[in-house]
Structures are given as structure tokens and as C-alpha cells.
């Protein structure tokens, strides 16, 4: 039976449309929508990357952080981790403006920095006011951060105050003689180290008979060598960067190794000693980490780091690597809810447990700081070449931060 032409077309259109509409409804009912992805946790890093004294140290720190987060595929508690790095150029004012940019524009939830103590002092009021969890991931810092300039929002996973000279202050009088000379930078860092070292040298029955403070950019130590007290047994160096390498080389070139023993844990870090290793035989010192530590955890770390970056790790690398692990574990403890549980995150940093390349991780909640061990090292000739070696037999206990505050007379 034939319909009228118009009715036939309209019927088919309505039928087709209805079928299509039903299909869409059915599809919508059966399709599962993907759950909304959790937002990324952004970690801002403010470091003096272009400052000559810190170039290598900052690079080492960033490598350590990357390795630590790569082990978890950059995902913690179901959230991606992203590092945003800014160069503070070694200037406190620049560090502050970069921190503000990271927190206010880039919306980072955690801030890391700085290896430069003067930059840290500039950041403290801002991070305290904005309640931004901020960590020092690498390098020792002034003890003021744990005392006069203390902030509940600024914690250290590296080291607060110079605890590393303490084991050496006890070692040197026993091994080399009771009289020492200290050569240190003429700044807060150098003076704190000199004070702590002298305090514990006296406690061990020794004596610091001369202290020489040198400018940060010293290239020639010969004028200072000429005035060394000849009755001293050893010279303790508290320097870093190019001047530290230069003093090791010049000490040997001027034949001072025949008269004194050169010591200083910070002179043994790879960035300092490697360019001058041929001049460093006998150099001894205590420090919280060096690649020569002969533990399983450290061997694994050194191998992974070297394979990943083509160079061996240093002190800043190990500090930063453990910072990354501590952050991961603390974030897991609060189920990644950093936005609403900032204080819990910081408290969790003090409660996490693991054994890293620096030894058992321990963080003092009172001083908001990692508690470092002091390992003794020495440059010895091994198979005809100078090499940094761990003196295993010397005690390497954890050094309470209260020992540093006691020596500096601060609390």
C-alpha cells in the first residue's frame, strides 16, 4: 500500500532520529567516565645556580633530587611530582622574589632552598607568613635557623650548624699533636665552624693557637702561610669552592706538608679534592657523607647515581637524594594531601624511617633538622693513586644538634 509521499519521508526521519537518540542514551549509561586526575604536587627549588661558588653544588643537588623522585617514577600517593627550579644568583633579594613567584604564580606546595645561608635568612619571614613548608635539601646551614631565626616552616634535611668538625676536633689532637691553626672564611659559616672546632678541640685536650679568617675570593694563600705559627702541629681548613682546592694545592707546593698536617672534612668533598687529588695525600677530615662510605646503601646509591649522570655523587647529591626520599615518605604518610595537611607533612618528616647513603635517617623535631653522623676520611695512596678512604675504625656516631648550640653559646 503506498503512503502519500510526504508522510513516508517524515516517518522515516522520526524513526531514524529516535533510534539515534536511544543509542546515545544507551551509550551514555554504559560508558564509564575516567576519574578526574589528582593535581600535580609542585616542588619549587630556589638555589644560587649561577653563583660561581655554588654552580657544581647546585647541579649535584638537582641530580640527587631527580634520582630520588625517579625511583618512584615521579608519582607519590597517586599524585605526580614536578620540580620547578629558579636561580637566585646568590642574591637574597633575588631569592625572595623567585620564592614569591614560585609560591604565588606557580602555586608550588613545597619549597626547597637555599644552599646559601644569607638567602635562607631572607626567605624565613616570607615562608613563615605564607605557611609554606620549606626545606633545605643540601649543604650545611647556620645554627641561627635552629635558634634565633627559627621558623616552624623552615626545616633542614641537610644539616644545621657545623656538627661535622666535632669528630675531627677529637681526632686531630690524638693523631697529629695538640696545637692547631684554623683557616676559615671570614663569614658567618666560617666563624661558626671555627668556634665549634675550637670548643671541642679544647675538650679533647688540644688547643687552637691561631685563627686566620680569609676573604671568600682568596686565590693566593701564600701571604697567610708565611705567618703560620711554626709550633702548630696541624692546620684545619674550613673553606669551600675554588679557594678550598687552592689551599690544598698550595699547601703542598710550599712544602708545608713537611711541617704541618692539613685537615678539614669539607676539603675532602669531591668538587674540592678531585681537581687537586695529586696534592692531597694525607689530607684528613670528618664530614657527614662522602662517596667513599663503604655501606651497602651507599654503594647502591653511588652506582645508580654514576650510571644515571655519568659522574660520581658528592655531599650535596646525597643530602638531596635523602631529601627526596623523606619528602616521598612524608607525603605518603599524609596520603598526598599537602594542601590541607601542611603541618602534618612537616611532622611526618621527623617520623619517617629509612637507611640512606648517609646512614640511618634521623630528624630532630625540636631543631627541625637532620641529625648527621661524623665519618672520618683520609686521602691515601691506593694502587699508586691518591684516593679518599673511609677510616672505619673511628667512631661515627650521630652528633646531636645540642652539641653545636652548646659550643656556639646559643639556644
Amino acid at each position: 500500500m503506498l503512503h502519500k509521499r510526504g508522510h513516508f519521508g517524515l516517518t522515516w526521519a522520526i524513526t531514524l532520529f529516535s533510534l539515534l537518540f536511544l543509542s546515545v542514551i544507551l551509550a551514555a549509561c554504559t560508558t564509564r567516565t575516567a576519574p578526574a586526575a589528582k593535581p600535580t604536587i609542585k616542588i619549587g627549588v630556589v638555589e644560587p645556580a649561577s653563583s660561581p661558588a655554588f654552580v657544581e653544588l647546585v647541579k649535584a643537588e638537582l641530580n640527587g633530587l631527580k634520582l630520588g623522585f625517579e625511583e618512584a617514577d615521579w608519582v607519590v600517593a597517586g599524585r605526580k611530582i614536578e620540580l620547578l627550579v629558579e636561580d637566585s644568583e646568590g642574591q637574597p633579594a633575588v631569592a625572595l622574589s623567585k620564592a614569591k613567584k614560585l609560591v604565588e604564580s606557580d602555586k608550588v606546595q613545597i619549597l626547597l632552598g637555599s644552599q646559601n645561608s644569607t638567602e635562607i635568612l631572607a626567605l624565613i619571614p616570607y615562608v613563615t607568613e605564607t605557611k609554606t613548608p620549606t626545606l633545605v635539601a643540601a649543604s650545611g646551614t647556620t645554627v641561627q635557623l635552629a635558634t634565633k631565626q627559627r621558623s616552624d616552616w623552615y626545616w633542614r634535611i641537610s644539616e644545621t650548624g657545623p656538627s661535622f668538625p666535632i669528630p675531627e676536633a677529637g681526632y686531630n689532637p690524638k693523631k697529629f699533636g695538640s696545637k692547631g691553626i684554623v683557616v676559615a672564611f671570614d663569614n658567618v659559616w666560617g666563624k661558626e665552624i671555627a668556634t665549634v672546632f675550637e670548643y671541642y678541640t679544647k675538650e679533647a685536650g688540644g688547643e687552637i693557637i691561631q685563627k686566620v679568617f680569609v676573604p671568600f675570593n682568596t686565590t693566593d694563600f701564600a701571604p697567610y702561610f708565611a705567618k703560620f705559627d711554626k709550633s702548630a702541629n696541624y692546620v684545619y681548613g674550613a673553606l669551600f669552592g675554588p679557594p678550598a682546592s687552592l689551599i690544598v694545592r698550595q699547601f703542598k707546593e710550599f712544602g708545608l706538608d713537611k711541617q704541618f698536617r692539613l685537615t678539614g672534612g669539607v676539603l675532602l668533598i669531591p668538587e674540592v679534592v678531585n681537581p687537586v687529588i695529586d696534592y692531597a695525600e694525607g689530607l684528613t677530615g670528618s664530614v657527614r657523607y662522602l662517596p667513599a662510605l663503604d655501606t651497602n646503601e651507599n654503594k647502591k646509591f653511588v652506582q645508580a647515581y654514576t650510571q644515571r649522570f655519568g659522574v660520581g655523587p658528592g655531599l650535596a647529591s646525597a643530602d638531596a637524594y635523602e631529601t627526596a626520599i623523606a619528602i616521598r615518605k612524608a607525603l605518603e604518610a599524609i596520603k598526598g594531601d599537602i594542601e590541607n595537611r601542611k603541618q602534618d607533612f612537616l611532622n611526618a618528616l621527623a617520623q619517617v624511617k629509612f637507611v640512606g647513603p648517609r646512614g640511618p635517617y634521623e630528624l630532630d623535631p625540636k631543631y627541625h633538622s637532620y641529625v648527621a653522623s661524623g665519618f672520618m676520611f683520609q686521602v691515601q695512596k691506593v694502587n699508586g693513586k691518591n684516593q679518599v678512604v673511609w677510616l672505619k675504625d673511628y667512631p661515627s656516631d650521630k652528633i646531636p644538634i645540642s652539641k653545636v648550640t652548646k659550643a656556639l653559646g646559643v639556644e
Binding site: 679568617f213 701571604p223 710550599f254
Partner: protein, 280 residues
């Protein structure tokens, strides 16, 4: 005795650092702040070549030739189009940033100090103390350079022409002196000297990011204290600064940062044109 020898070593190294800058400023009237960066790149190049080949002399040569060519390209390609001093200074700052970034990229912020040739290693006993042989070599090289430049400038026809150009370039040109080759040679030579000093100085100061800032500051201070464009003045300035700095650090280490600045201020106050400069 050792302190005096140290002072002389430091003085002559300062002289070598400053003399290239003095000659460029005196003849070309160009203040090239990138001179310190030339030292740094020269130092790094010498370190790298010496490490790879074991040949310290080759490192010296590569540094001299490379930085000489770099300096020539900078003058021919850029500086000669900018007659105004301020423009030249700004341009040289631009080159500083470029060269620093090149050094950062190429050497990754490492510090370098090359091993010395066997005949320059070790030390000599002088006045009861060991004094490094290498520093004696720096003294000898510095003195040879100083004497050679003095003879060139004071006792040769070429030197007379150079002095004429320094004194009054337009008049020299008016008298028929072709100054073009002189200008080219000056920039080539000045750059080569910076590269040579960097190569020679790196076992002493090290090659590292930041050594350029130290070198340009010291070179400028030495040049100003001695008098612009004056060889004898630069030598006198470097000896004055080197000795005061060395003895000052030894006897007053707490004022180490302050010593050179104080000396610079005093000279500028009493004789702004420098010890051997002429008042304008």
C-alpha cells in the same frame, strides 16, 4: 724572603693581567670589560688541552691563538662600529654574559688546574723555606715580558709609532701613519696576551666560573693606579698593588678585603690620572 718573593710573583701576574687591557685602552681607547672573561676562557682552554695532551706548552699556545682570534673578531665585527665609550662598555658586558654561559655549558662549572711540566714542579729552598718553582717561572716570564714591552715601546720605531697613536691618534694619522694595522694588531695582541695570562695563571688561580670577575677588577685597578696606556705605569701599579696586598694580608689579615680598595681610593684621591698618567 718568601713573603717578598710571593709579593713579586703576585705583582708580575697582575702586570700580565693588566698590560693587555692597558694597551687596548691606550691605543684603541676601548674599555673592554670582557677582558676578564678572556682570561677565564684562556685558562679553561689551557687546562683542557694540557689534560688531554699532557703538553702544557700546547695548552698555552692554543689559549693564546684562540683568545687572540676571539678578540680580533669582536673588534672587527662589533667594537669598531661603536665610537662612544658607553656603547663599548655595554657591548663588552654583553660579551661577558655570553662567554660566561659558554664556559658554564662547556665546562659545567668545574674547577680546573692543570698539572705542571716536570721541570716546573716541586720547589726550591730559598731563605730556609720551600718556594714553588712555578712561581719563580712566573716571575721570570713577567720580567721578560715587561722588559720586552719596554724595549718595543721605548727603543724601536714601531714603539714610537705606537706611542704616537696612544698620545694623539688623529695627529698620527694626519702625519701619514697608517693606524689600521696597528689597531688590528693591538686587539689581536691584547687578546692573545689575555689568553696567555689565563693559561699561565690557571695553575696559580685555577680556572673556574668567577675568576673573570676577580681578574677584570684587579686589571682595572692596576691600570688606573698605574696610569692608562702606560707600560711603566702598569708595572709600577702592579708592583704597588701586589706588594701591598701580599704584606697587608700577612700582617693585617682582618683587613684583607679592604686593602686594595683603600689603596685604589688613595691614589685616585691624590693623583686621579694614575701614578704615571698625565692630568688632562
Amino acid at each position: 724572603m718568601a713573603l717578598t718573593l710571593n709579593g713579586i710573583t703576585w705583582s708580575l701576574l697582575l702586570f700580565l693581567m693588566a698590560i693587555g687591557l692597558t694597551i687596548i685602552m691606550g691605543i684603541l681607547r676601548i674599555l673592554n670589560f670582557a677582558y676578564g672573561a678572556f682570561y677565564m676562557i684562556g685558562a679553561y682552554l689551557a687546562w683542557t688541552v694540557t689534560l688531554k695532551t699532557g703538553n702544557f706548552g700546547l695548552g698555552l699556545l692554543v689559549a693564546m691563538v684562540s683568545i687572540g682570534l676571539l678578540s680580533y673578531v669582536m673588534e672587527r665585527g662589533f667594537f669598531r662600529f661603536l665610537p662612544q665609550h658607553l656603547d663599548q662598555v655595554l657591548l663588552s658586558f654583553g660579551f661577558i654574559f655570553i662567554l660566561k654561559d659558554v664556559a658554564r655549558w662547556a665546562w659545567q662549572g668545574q674547577m680546573g688546574m692543570s698539572p705542571l711540566p716536570f721541570f716546573l714542579k716541586g720547589s726550591i729552598l730559598i731563605g730556609g723555606s720551600d718556594f714553588p718553582t712555578y712561581r719563580i717561572a712566573i716571575i721570570a716570564i713577567g720580567l721578560v715580558f715587561a722588559l720586552g714591552l719596554w724595549i718595543l715601546f721605548e727603543k724601536t720605531r714601531v714603539g714610537a709609532i705606537l706611542r704616537a697613536v696612544i698620545e694623539d691618534r688623529p695627529m698620527a694619522e694626519a702625519l701619514g701613519i697608517n693606524t689600521s694595522p696597528i689597531l688590528i694588531f693591538t686587539f689581536l695582541g691584547g687578546g692573545a696576551l689575555a689568553g696567555f695570562t689565563g693559561a699561565l695563571g690557571q695553575p696559580f688561580t685555577g680556572a673556574y666560573l668567577g675568576v673573570d670577575d676577580l681578574v677584570i677588577m684587579l686589571a682595572l685597578v692596576t691600570m688606573v693606579v698605574g696610569g692608562q696606556g702606560k707600560i711603566v705605569g702598569t708595572l709600577a701599579g702592579s708592583v704597588l698593588i701586589g706588594m701591598v696586598d701580599t704584606f697587608g694580608k700577612a700582617f693585617f689579615p682582618q683587613f684583607a678585603l679592604f686593602i686594595i680598595a683603600a689603596l685604589f681610593t688613595l691614589v685616585l684621591f691624590f693623583k686621579p690620572s694614575g701614578l704615571f698618567g698625565k692630568a688632562e
